[in-house]
Symmetry: C2
Subunit: 128 residues, 2 copies
Amino acid sequence: MSIQRVDAATTTELIRPHGCPVMAFQAMISGKYKIRILWDLKDGPRRYSEIRAGLLSGATGTREIAPRVLSRELKALAEAGMIARKDYGLVPPKVEYRLTEAGKGFIPIIAVIRDWGERHLATRPPGG
Amino acid sequence: MSIQRVDAATTTELIRPHGCPVMAFQAMISGKYKIRILWDLKDGPRRYSEIRAGLLSGATGTREIAPRVLSRELKALAEAGMIARKDYGLVPPKVEYRLTEAGKGFIPIIAVIRDWGERHLATRPPGG
DNA sequence: CGGTATCCTAGTAGATACTG
DNA sequence: CAGTATCTACTAGGATACCG
């Protein structure tokens, strides 16, 4: 059949229906930057490059984030209905991402998780 | 150097310190069954095989769960302080897992996530 | 600027066999 | 019973080059 390894990531990675809301949640946040993207957008719309810069500055490590990865996560979040993409149709391009109502409603959930995590999860300061 | 691919999963998979509580949370629940394991344990201690059976019956698909995977997730949850393992030292072996206080405190968080997910996430009934 | 196309590495889950 | 050992398939993430 010569299936040729089409870089599976690019083909499959978006479609994943889940019967359980908790599993759906887990799928929605799966990915290294999704929660941070949502959190960053809580203060208002941001452009692709601004999101990227924000992810670098608050960084987990201070590595580059591959454009491919950011692009994929933004698409998935849009697909999940958490964010909306607005293309201004300009050259050079200008595209903004902002939270949808569902996305805004998720922000308090992140806060709950953060508060609980601070209390119960062993976190180490970067370098500890 | 002949590094030989030592099955990285068996060596690395436990150690992962995170500075951010939300990232720590994400790491803690990462894995296909962790949340469901915690949820299953909310009603009391369970043995390895009982947990396994429970994961099969409520199943996402109705596949087998590899013992290797369950074992790894249980270890990770114990490492994260969410569950405790009790070995009765018998032959044939009897081992029970139960929620720690931190684990018990996580149950309401799951409920919050579930409620939010039901409202805002597109879930499809299995087969839809 | 906002991505896509390719290639690569490492980790995660499954199947199966086997052990104390 | 409660796992470990081994092998394989698939996927997420990173690096880099390039396009409209």
